[in-house]
Symmetry: C2
DNA sequence: ACCTGAACACCGTTCAAGT
DNA sequence: ACCTGAACACCGTTCAAGT
């Protein structure tokens, strides 16, 4: 008689997926493992999500919202150069704290597993606000892309172990950010 | 009586895997699909490779050798700045020609699917030879890492569609490379 | 020495039946 | 309205038996 009451939720499912991802990598994000973690049988997950690809996409989407939350406080820094340094550091800190989730954000995912494009834009908003103050509205997008390219390239090499030999990685990152910020502030930036 | 003669080879298997990867992504690199492509049944592949992870690692390894081959001609450029530009362009061209294979090289792969570390070093050799001529032997490694970080970050964003809005992407890449090369040639580079 | 069919475990997904 | 067990297709991998 009485219809079944929800024993889980989309939020709980996505959170379980993120935890499994960080602990065991993408292969560990199994419908069975997620179901077990939220106290339900695997087929019940399909009440909340159409398939596993949508679960992956939801994990990525949640991570992009988190990232935006980590970066947005620095938008209001009175000095845009300091703000950009802080955003770059916070971006890198996010990747260090959630390495596998970070990897997911820049992975070549199958179409169904990609988060909505708006979420990528959302996460880029804090950076765009600061580059606009540095280079003006016309070359804003290009400047933000160069910064993101460098930060992502640096962090992804760092996470994949390319900097194993040690040394002051923090200092090297700061150096690269400063070189780019300095160039953007002083030279005309070409259109992308 | 007569023992069975080899009907395939490791090279043929790895080549089939690369083709399947480029056409259908990593999910399409199935032991069944590879076997079918080389004219053998799936269990026979285990005569040549211990498991699917080793196949992925072999694909990545082969790609790193190819990449080294694309980059090495520019080592002998009389002007190291021109040589670095050419290496950067060839790196990007390789990624454009083999986007999914390129993605594999910087993917966070499970331990068994990672290519041997020597192969990563091999692919970096041409760049290292040129940065040495630009900044000297002491800051060589650091300079090469900053260049690689930028190039990889730029290319991976480009491939993932982050530059969809169009414009002169070639020019933006050249601009970023020039900024870094210029900074490396004129400033002291901090240790990584 | 390499190849094969048969078999097993594991996972994503569907669906009819329960409350 | 959501949950479940049973079932199916697909894939990685093992192994005994073939030549």
């Amino acid at each position: 008689m009485s219809p079944a009451r929800a024993r889980t939720s989309l939020l709980e499912i996505v959170t379980a997926g993120r935890e499994l991802l960080e602990v065991g990598g993408l292969d560990a994000v199994t419908m069975l493992a997620v179901a077990e973690r939220v106290g339900v049988r695997a087929p019940s997950l399909y009440k909340w999500l159409p398939n596993r690809a949508a679960l992956i996409a939801s994990i990525a989407s949640a991570a992009l919202h988190d990232l935006e939350h980590q970066l947005s406080p620095f938008v209001s820094d009175p000095d845009p150069v300091m703000g950009l340094r802080s955003v770059a550091d916070a971006f890198r800190a996010f990747a260090h704290a959630n390495p596998r989730t970070y990897g997911l954000l820049f992975m070549d995912l199958p179409a169904g597993a990609r988060p909505p494009a708006e979420d990528n834009l959302l996460a880029a908003t804090p950076l765009l606000a600061l580059t606009e103050r540095l280079v003006g509205p016309d070359r804003n997008l290009e400047a933000a892309r160069l910064m993101t390219a460098f930060a992502h390239g640096f962090v992804s090499m760092e996470l994949s172990g390319a900097f194993q030999l040690g040394g002051d990685v923090d200092e090297a990152f700061r150096y690269g950010v400063d070189v780019l910020v300095g160039a953007l502030a002083s030279r005309p930036v070409p259109p992308i």
